[in-house]
């Protein structure tokens, strides 16, 4: 597509439920990133995918968080047993290559609210 597409745009869920957030990167971009933006905070790195290589999961805050990228394109971030502290905007970005010296292209994010 023309840009990075994320869905849903907003999600309200009850504490303890599982949620799935979707990211569709720009066609041909091999690198895909997930960041979390909590209220009043900067962007916190979560996970990075590059082609068929093993993902860099070093930013995932707990084992309740997981992500996959199917066919080198669409990615899904899953949060199990959601907690109120998981409330944040989850941003996805992609770049043409892993080098990304020209920065990323971001989606508009998913605002997750855990009640």
């Amino acid at each position: 597509g023309a840009g990075v597409s994320q869905s849903p745009s907003n999600k309200v869920t009850e504490k303890g439920k599982d949620v799935e957030l979707r990211c569709d990167p720009i066609s041909g971009h091999t690198a895909l990133y997930w960041y979390r933006q909590s209220l009043g905070q900067g962007l916190e790195f979560l996970i990075y995918f590059q082609g068929n290589s093993a993902p860099d999961k070093s930013g995932l805050p707990s084992d309740r968080f997981s992500a996959e990228r199917t066919g080198g394109s669409v990615s899904t971030l899953t949060i199990q047993r959601t907690q109120q502290e998981d409330s944040a905007v989850y941003l996805c970005a992609s770049s043409l290559t892993a080098i990304a010296n020209y920065g990323y292209t971001f989606g508009s994010g998913t605002r997750l609210t855990v009640v």
């Binding site: 690198a31 860099d56 941003l91 920065g103 971001f106």
Partner: protein, 114 residues
């Protein structure tokens, strides 16, 4: 480890005036890239300007320019002739050559007063 600090949580400026947003960073690497991103209420992060650390010349994009002081590890953004559409959160970011991740600052919320 790399860190990026934006010491101004909020800034405001009158329309048509000039405003400077501050950013400092810390890294032991010598080859890196610096970015300013704008995040309007739509939430989509938009790249405003980019600077390569090995270039001494400050980057400029229309009304946006940077003051890059490598020795001081400072990377401020100047917005000239501020417009209402410039109102947004602005994030400073650092990427080390060879690394994949961008490291972001906490952001500065810029308000433009008509």
């Amino acid at each position: 480890a790399q860190t990026v600090t934006q010491s101004q949580p909020e800034m405001s400026v009158q329309e048509a005036e000039t405003v400077t947003l501050s950013c400092t960073y810390d890294t032991s690497e010598s080859d890196y890239y610096l970015f300013w991103y704008k995040q309007p209420p739509s939430r989509q992060m938009i790249l405003v300007i980019r600077q390569e650390a090995y270039k001494q010349q400050n980057a400029t994009e229309n009304r946006f320019s940077v003051n890059f002081q490598k020795a001081a590890k400072s990377f401020s953004l100047k917005i000239s002739d501020s417009q209402l559409g410039d109102a947004a959160m602005y994030f400073c970011a650092l990427k080390i050559q060879g690394a994949q991740k961008l490291v972001f600052g906490q952001g500065t919320r810029l308000t433009i007063n008509p």
